[in-house]
């Protein structure tokens, strides 16, 4: 019987079937963050249940940490109780914490792969819907809630109904200036915000194989925005090369043995998927959202759609988005004046993302009146970017260069826009009020965000006017 890679990872990790029909799936690596951790620790304490595998559990302060240089626990006052409670819970439960001042602190989805904490063919859970970011290295990751988090802490398994499988086949070669972010936004536009609900998605095809690992992570990061339960790319030599020598990966003979095993991690020829979707990436241009959900997307040269041209099921949402976004059907996206740019988040904050943005920005300056910020995805990314001089490029252009964290993605640390502002953001959700009350968010790639900061308007990085230094 031919098996998908999802089948293989699931079946390997299936511990038992519970009386209620759910499969108990062993979680190899579990990473907590401060918004959920204290509730889960408190629950276990009350029940007198210990943490089963503290050695396979990690914690990262990311959602509420301030990005201001010299930050501490209290720089964002609304985060300090969460930060301190997780620190205390990690201390009593002997969990390795990447604390606010740790040189390897950052966003959990960035930190876990860059340290080699997650591995190909491993299962991973985070109390965060973007857990599947690490699918980019071939891990099977599940986002969970707080009660499930306590369950994993106590048992090291998740009780799951087996999801269906889906393959998204990405053909062709991406044009210059087009990235995984653009591909992901186009897929969500095609299948909708619930298009992958109940499914684990395998991203395959020539376009995926050609993507560097960081781009694959961006692709898998946005999987939840089409409702997917998880999403991944089968690992290949590029994955193994990327992981080699990272501190938490197996060493020596173990590494060689792991490598042989990881080489078998692929869907069998002819394995059946419950659903298949294909997208030709060769003709794709940079994409941008115009509305208030991540499926409301057009090519950068496009216009806000006419509701009559939309699928009937999407018209009500579009009508409500026009008002919130202050946009009329037929308005071109290019040239729309903007107030703010955010480059960061688990979607687009890894070193190559920052390099692409810096290449656009270098020798230019942020437009008058635009507030632009770059927040690296981890303190390690920040250090590497600084070693490459990227911080100087951004600062000299008028960007704020922050300490690592989730920052303006959900605004949990106080980084927000002002009411009515239009913001081009490399994040994952353009929901109403997410980046601040009444902030109008346009999701786009780092290149588009950087170009827009320079132009003061939504801009195509491939056509940016030569800048004066």
């Amino acid at each position: 019987m031919q098996q998908t890679l999802f089948d293989k990872i699931w079946n390997f990790h299936r511990v038992a079937q519970r009386v209620d029909g759910r499969d108990l799936i062993y979680i190899d690596r579990h990473v907590l963050h401060e918004l959920h951790a204290h509730h889960a620790f408190a629950q276990l304490l009350k029940q007198g249940r210990p943490v089963r595998r503290a050695d396979l559990t990690f914690a990262v302060q990311d959602h509420t940490v301030a990005t201001k240089p010299g930050r501490d626990d209290d720089t964002n006052p609304s985060g300090s109780a969460f930060i301190k409670a997780m620190r205390e819970g990690c201390r009593t439960n002997r969990i390795r914490l990447f604390d606010v001042d740790d040189p390897e602190q950052g966003i959990s989805h960035v930190v876990a792969p860059e340290l080699g904490i997650v591995l190909p063919g491993a299962t991973h859970a985070v109390p965060d819907s973007h857990a599947s970011t690490v699918g980019g290295i071939g891990a099977l990751a599940f986002g969970c809630g707080t009660t499930e988090l306590a369950h994993i802490l106590a048992t090291q398994v998740m009780a799951l109904k087996r999801p269906k499988s889906m393959r998204v086949q990405l053909d062709g070669r991406l044009a210059a200036g087009v990235s995984a972010k653009d591909v992901a936004l186009r897929i969500i536009a095609e299948i909708g915000v619930a298009g992958a609900r109940g499914h684990v998605v395998e991203y395959a095809g020539a376009a995926v194989r050609a993507m560097p690992i960081e781009q694959r992570m961006t692709l898998c990061n946005l999987n939840i925005e089409m409702g997917g339960r998880s999403g991944f790319v089968a690992p290949d030599d590029a994955t193994f090369e990327w992981l080699a020598r990272r501190p938490f990966v197996p060493q020596g003979a173990q590494w060689d043995r792991a490598l042989r095993y990881w080489g078998t991690l692929a869907s069998d020829e002819g394995a059946g998927f419950d659903r298949e979707v294909r997208l030709d990436c060769a003709t794709l241009e940079p994409q941008i959202t115009w509305g208030t959900d991540p499926s409301q997307v057009v090519g950068i040269s496009g216009c806000v759609p006419d509701p009559a041209a939309l699928d009937p099921g999407r018209r009500a949402a579009a009508a409500s988005a026009f008002g919130y976004m202050d946009l009329a059907p037929g308005t071109p996206l290019l040239g729309l004046p903007i107030d703010r740019v955010f480059i960061g988040s688990c979607t687009n904050s890894r070193l190559p993302d920052l390099q692409v943005a810096a290449d656009v920005v270098r020798g230019r300056h942020v437009a008058e009146g635009v507030v632009a910020m770059v927040v690296p995805g981890s303190s390690s990314v920040k250090r590497e970017a600084e070693a490459a001089g990227l911080d100087r490029v951004f600062r000299e252009a008028g960007f704020f260069w922050g300490e690592s964290g989730c920052s303006m993605c959900a605004g949990g640390n106080g980084d927000r826009g002002e009411p009515g502002e239009r913001c081009v953001s490399t994040t994952n959700r353009n929901f109403e009020n997410r980046q601040g009350p009444k902030v109008r968010t346009h999701l786009a790639s780092p290149a588009t965000a950087a170009a827009s900061a320079i132009a003061g308007r939504i801009a195509d990085a491939r056509r940016l006017a030569p800048g004066a230094a």
Partner: protein, 209 residues
């Protein structure tokens, strides 16, 4: 903690929109602490006008729906962030049942963990039920019975709904989910032993530096 669910009789409030996300249900607010006011959090922005006063047009602010126990809504309810506060804030407001055309996966799981009953009515039945709820306008309650899997109330015949048998049992009995899993603790231990042989790197996460 899990509250068992058998049946609930209450006012049904129609919130007729698709894709309502957890940022809308339970927004991240400026000032917060570990003991949050989940009652105030529910639809915090949608419930209020710019000056902070209650928006009388928002369904849960209307006098007839202030004590609603059943929320009736469209497709893909609870999309977005995995925050469980989007379930706790429902319970803090006395809402014990959400009837939707469909739910986002993580939200539905969070409902089951807390004894908030997620009822899925397919598109056609969902529209019929929404029409009934709108017509009744809070003047009389509906009863959602998980034991008989029926919704009954004014304006039409009983509606039978489907729910996986295991989810139903878990809600009715208010089963402790961790306890249920720990019955398999020996199998968890033997899986760990097997993994230690088959893929030893999975059972160890050490910093090699």
């Amino acid at each position: 903690m899990m509250q068992p669910f058998n049946r609930h009789t209450g006012i049904a409030a129609p919130l007729v929109k698709d894709d309502i996300n957890t940022d809308q249900i339970a927004p991240i607010l400026h000032s917060r602490g570990l003991k949050e006011d989940y009652r105030a959090m529910l639809f915090h922005r949608a419930r209020r006008r710019e000056d902070g006063s209650d928006d009388p047009d928002f369904v849960l602010n209307k006098p007839q729906f202030r004590a609603a126990g059943i929320l009736v809504t469209g497709e893909n309810f609870g999309a977005g962030s995995s925050r469980e506060s989007a379930v706790w804030s429902m319970l803090a407001n006395g809402i014990r049942v959400i009837v939707a055309k469909s739910f986002a996966d993580i939200y539905r799981e969070n409902c089951l963990q807390n004894g908030l009953l997620p009822v899925v009515l397919g598109s056609a039945f969902g529209d019929q039920f929404i029409a009934r709820v709108v017509a009744v306008d809070g003047k009389a309650p509906f009863t959602v019975d998980l034991v008989t899997q029926r919704i009954s109330g004014p304006g039409g015949p009983d509606i039978v709904f489907e729910i996986p048998a295991a989810d139903r049992t878990r809600l009715i009995e208010g089963l402790d989910d961790i306890g249920l899993t720990l019955k398999h603790v020996d199998e968890i231990a033997s899986w760990e032993a097997r993994a230690q042989t088959a893929q030893p790197w999975l059972q160890s996460a050490r910093d090699a530096r």
